[in-house]
Amino acid sequence: MFDTSFEILSNKKIAQNTWEIVLRGDTRGIAPGQFVNLRLEGFYLRRPLSVCDFNDGTLTLIYKVVGRGTEALAALPAGTALDVLTGLGNGYDTSVSGPRPLLIGGGAGVPPLYALAKALIREGKTPAVILGFNSAGEVFYEEEFRALGTDPTVTTADGSYGVKGFVTDAMELDYTYFYTCGPEPMLRAVYAKSVTSGQFSLEERMGCGFGACMGCTCKTKTGHKRVCKDGPVLTKEELPW
């Protein structure tokens, strides 16, 4: 855990209600599947956002504007300094992926899979990617995934873009392992349809984000886990679904 000051380089809308913010600062100790926790002036609790991309000096996050906090975040101009806790949570374990892992993201669950895809490719693996959205206006990062050399399948619930249906409708693939992030109903559907082991990135309302307050505890087959500290990534074997 590091408490760092980042500077906003850019903060722009990239799809319906969806914003991408690029920050400059110390990115040491950040890993795919982890999250960072932003302090916003005028709001008491921090806002946890999953890591979408990072390199030596920049960090990219993607967020949905869903309430007053994210509205305030979307209004911040470039140059603003942000107090950010980094290095939070257990990220994805890429060592168990096998050669052809499947990455399944839904809506606001897409971003962490981007950093993961980069890491897997760096390790010489060939990830397949399924990105699910409600409708065409919400689709983002298809091109970015393509630029990595993957061939993402995009699904939309209303069929306005790509394959009509849910991510599970596109899961008829040959894969060695899977990684997924998205709303819980989607995660449960992926769980039910999956034929290999895999890793799930969970979401829960958090107090602190670093394991102190027990605000985000969930039940697993191996005991109570704090989504923020023991997760957000849990394995298929741990989930009591």
Partner: protein, 305 residues
């Protein structure tokens, strides 16, 4: 050189700053961030006889200058606290710790306090009769002078270390409850626990918390906490640990002027993991600015001005 030392019923603290129970776990997460031995002490996660999962999620909601929590006393139970947590804690914290104990019956309070009393690491027992997030027990013991006194007597009968009763602010007359605890033998009073509050999810049109209501903490409650510390100071002659929304060295001083001998820092730890350390570090400068040489001199100072 200013002097930040205070004494709670014989327990000498190098400074009055104590992270509050439920916001500091059993200390490890913070020990990874900084050396927690800079703290006066800390109050560990409220412990019960049985392990508890706590309440269904969501357990956290945001409010103006504060937060609601409805964790519901999640803890591994007294057996594992003694066998696992305390030995682990010993490696990162070398001062006496405040043991926070909760219960659902007078017997349970007595049994857990008796057991934790025997642990060498424990310097003081904080008996939580005020958790707003559990049903049957918890807060109900803290809402009448009689039941508060009953728990106090039962715990005092089986312990040797200082016993501080942690009171609920959700009462008409906090001073009467504090006085009842004092008369029943309590060594000190700890207050305030959280104020009962709630939020509603406008889209779902349902309570936001899984438990419907939760406990409000953070700077929003500071003026209420300060008033209750003031009232209890006027009512009893035993030391007070004041808490509720403390977020700065100045807030610590304000609490002490109202009557607190030591001060717990709660929600601030959750929004800034370094908050308690920053408060400890900021105390000498704040004291100099306010011309305070010995911090213990100002306890209750605003009552006689």
């Amino acid at each position: 050189m200013v002097n930040t030392q205070v004494t709670l019923s014989g327990l000498v603290l190098s400074n009055p700053v104590i992270p509050a129970s439920g916001t500091f776990g059993y200390g490890y997460e913070f020990a990874q961030a900084y050396d927690i031995n800079c703290l006066g002490s800390f109050s560990f996660k409220g412990t019960t006889r049985q392990p508890r999962f706590g309440n269904e999620p969501p357990r956290i909601a945001e409010t103006a200058s504060g937060m609601l929590n409805a964790v519901g006393l999640q803890n591994p139970g007294i057996d594992r606290v003694i066998s696992e947590e305390l030995p682990k804690l010993r490696r990162v914290f070398h001062k006496p710790v405040v043991a926070n104990i909760s219960g659902f019956s007078v017997d349970e309070y007595a049994e857990c306090c008796a057991r934790i009393d025997r642990e060498e690491q424990v310097g003081l027992i904080e008996v939580n009769i005020s958790c707003p997030n559990v049903h049957c027990g918890g807060m109900s013991f803290g809402t009448s002078p009689e039941s508060a006194a009953e728990v106090t007597r039962a715990v005092k009968a089986v312990t040797t270390k200082p016993v501080y009763m942690k009171l609920s602010p959700n009462v008409t007359d906090i001073a009467a409850i504090a006085k009842a605890c004092e008369d029943a033998g309590a060594d000190g009073i700890s207050l305030i626990n959280t104020l009962l509050g709630m939020r509603i999810d406008l889209k779902k049109r349902r309570p936001l918390l899984g438990n419907t209501t939760g406990g409000l903490s953070g700077p929003a409650v500071f003026p209420v906490a300060l008033r209750m510390v003031w009232q209890v100071y006027e009512a009893v002659n035993i030391p007070i640990i004041g808490m509720g929304g403390v977020a700065s060295a100045e807030d610590v001083i304000e609490m002490m002027l109202a009557g607190a001998t030591a001060v717990e820092v709660g929600a601030a730890n959750l929004v800034d993991p370094f908050a308690s350390k920053k408060i400890v570090d900021g105390l000498p400068q704040a004291m100099e600015r306010l011309h305070i040489e010995n911090l213990s001199d100002i306890i209750g100072g605003a009552h006689h001005g």
